[in-house]
């Protein structure tokens, strides 16, 4: 009973997958451009939409690994 709360509240290196998301989407110089386009969609738009999927996968990974420990 006492051990598992400790683990749950502790820092996990997997949380770096959260930090990656902040860097990926909160730095507009990375993606404020038209080329390369994808199916006619400018990079600005498909890059950020792609990050929605990457972010969901990251969060799922963090959920699974922290739930196991």
């Amino acid at each position: 009973m006492n051990a598992s709360p400790k683990i749950r509240s502790a820092w996990s290196w997997w949380y770096l997958l959260f930090v990656v998301q902040f860097i990926g989407v909160l730095w507009p110089p990375f993606y404020n451009k038209v080329e390369p386009t994808w199916l006619g969609v400018p990079f600005f738009y498909w890059y950020q939409m792609l990050w929605v999927i990457i972010a969901a996968v990251c969060n799922a990974v963090v959920y699974v690994v922290t739930e196991k420990s």
Partner: protein
């Protein structure tokens, strides 16, 4: 405007009738004693991962969002896409902070942020500040949901003068008020399922059908003016649109879960695990929001604004008319009915949750704290039901008698106000290092500075912060949150050094924050 679109209106009314029945029937769903506040106002904390997904999704991604984000893309272009990074970075915050809050609230029977802060810091005045901020920030938000309904009603050609013009809105409102009163949070939870399915159908149909009609994405983006296609690159000595975009996204993400309706949706989950799972599942709505933002560009490419049949609508509703006009232009009438019902019902779900959340706040943190200290359970639940009605009438009066622009501006200020509760609520979930009076003063200074800055920036969301010869345009809420934090930290150190009165007892223990 054009005449009444009877086919669309019939579908709209049928779907509305269905969710009205559903809203009342919901009282018997996962049955609980609705004369207990946590049953009426939190659905008995019994919603698992799937229902939480629908409920929180319907709660956060509101009808107004679905109208306003494409409208912003239509009017301002790329800047509107900040809604996507915003609704990406909010989920790590959800994952880390809110399961802790869920456990401690569940353990101690807290149903509002005010309850938690009261217990954690033992300072009723700090709790009162959190509570009033929550209620004041929520009111214009409810009013804006009604704008969503107004726009689609107008688009179906329902118009009139005087009372007749407002009658449909009044009916929608009476339905909302009645089922919220009788079923509590179970009503929006069940309706959210219908609403979300309709919204997904609409979004995917729009993103597939309309680009086909317009000749593909390449043609659509070619029609978007170059200055709207990307963020304007910053000039010398300024971070320009880049810092505005990033701080809008981050500040909005930090603010969103502090709104009372977010808290209510999250606390109604059946476990902290259901919340963590949803951090991975809720981005599904973000993806749809991104698709919907693109609809603003479809509207540009379709040349909607130049079409004479929509001139009156744009005159009345401004760019918020862009999405309904595009639907009318691109879809058969029956599907327009489905799409508009999605928006209309999409307004009722968050409006119901918001009014429940505001009622919970008043009942717990104002009435019980300052007026009647020992209510029976039944009195407490009854009080909340009445307050939920008063809150909705207030929002309705707002929409009927005050210009819409004013509600939009107040909602903007609401974001600046609600973020000032972050140190007490979110950081409070991790630590009670802060002195509660330092938090209260930080809140007051942040609120005051934010309001003044917003007014001096002509009620634009961003403020051009000048520092060391550079200009850093950024979201006012974000800047004033930093100010608030600095004040809270410095004053806590000062108060500790002065050995001021010993802090009040913490009603919560470290172990309460975990499974």
């Amino acid at each position: 405007m054009q005449g009444v679109n009877w086919v669309a209106l019939t579908i709209f009314v049928l779907l509305f009738g269905f969710i009205t029945w559903l809203g009342f029937a919901a009282a018997r769903w996962r049955k609980g004693d609705l004369e207990l506040l946590h049953e009426w106002g939190l659905g008995g904390r019994r919603f698992g991962t799937v229902i939480t997904w629908f409920l929180v999704g319907g709660d956060l991604y509101t009808a107004y969002t679905f109208v306003a984000v494409p409208a912003l893309a239509f009017g301002a272009g790329a800047l509107a896409f900040f809604a996507v990074p915003y609704t990406i970075v909010m989920y790590p915050i959800l994952f880390l902070v809110f399961p802790r809050l869920w456990y401690v609230c569940n353990k101690h029977g807290y149903i509002t942020a005010g309850d938690f802060v009261r217990g954690r810091f033992g300072n009723r005045w700090l709790a009162l500040a959190i509570t009033i901020t929550g209620i004041v920030a929520t009111m214009p938000y409810i009013a804006l949901q009604l704008v969503g309904i107004q726009v689609v009603l107008g688009a179906m050609g329902i118009s009139g003068t005087g009372l007749m013009a407002d009658l449909p809105l009044l009916i929608a409102f009476a339905i909302l008020a009645a089922f919220t009163y009788s079923s509590g949070l179970r009503a929006p939870a069940s309706i959210a399922i219908v609403k979300d399915i309709l919204i997904y159908i609409t979004a995917f149909a729009a993103v597939i059908v309309i680009p086909m009609q317009l000749g593909g994405f390449g043609k659509i983006f070619a029609a978007v003016p170059a200055d709207k296609l990307l963020l304007a690159p910053p000039g010398a000595n300024t971070t320009g649109a880049y810092s505005a975009y990033a701080t809008l996204a981050l500040g909005s993400a930090l603010a969103l879960f502090l709104y009372p309706h977010s808290m209510t949706g999250i606390l109604s989950a059946s476990s902290g695990r259901a919340i963590r799972k949803n951090a991975a599942l809720l981005p599904g709505y973000t993806f749809m929001l991104g698709l919907l933002a693109l609809i603003g560009f479809f509207a540009i490419a379709a040349g909607i604004k130049g079409l004479p049949e929509f001139a009156a609508g744009f005159k009345q509703f401004g760019n918020n008319f862009a999405v309904p006009a595009l639907m009318l232009h691109s879809f058969p009438a029956w599907f327009v009915g489905v799409a508009f019902a999605a928006i209309g019902i999409g307004a009722l779900v968050p409006a119901a949750i918001m009014s429940i959340a505001a009622a919970n706040l008043y009942t717990r943190n104002i009435h019980r704290e300052f007026i009647n200290k020992n209510p029976t359970n039944k009195q407490e639940a009854q009080m909340a039901k009445w307050v939920s009605l008063i809150v909705k009438v207030g929002a309705l009066a707002f929409i009927l008698f005050v210009p819409t622009q004013f509600a939009i501006q107040l909602q903007l200020l609401g974001g600046i106000w609600i973020i000032q509760t972050l140190p007490a609520v979110m950081l409070g979930a991790y630590t009670r290092w802060f002195n509660s009076w330092a938090l209260l003063i930080g809140w007051a200074i942040g609120t005051y500075a934010g309001t003044t800055m917003a007014i001096s920036a002509q009620l634009k969301p961003t403020y051009p912060l000048a520092f060391g010869g550079h200009i850093y345009p950024g979201y006012t809420a974000f800047y004033t949150l930093l100010l608030n934090l600095v004040v809270a930290v410095v004053l806590t150190l000062v108060f500790n050094a002065m050995k001021a009165r010993a802090p009040a007892a913490d009603a919560t223990a470290a172990a309460d924050y975990h499974a």
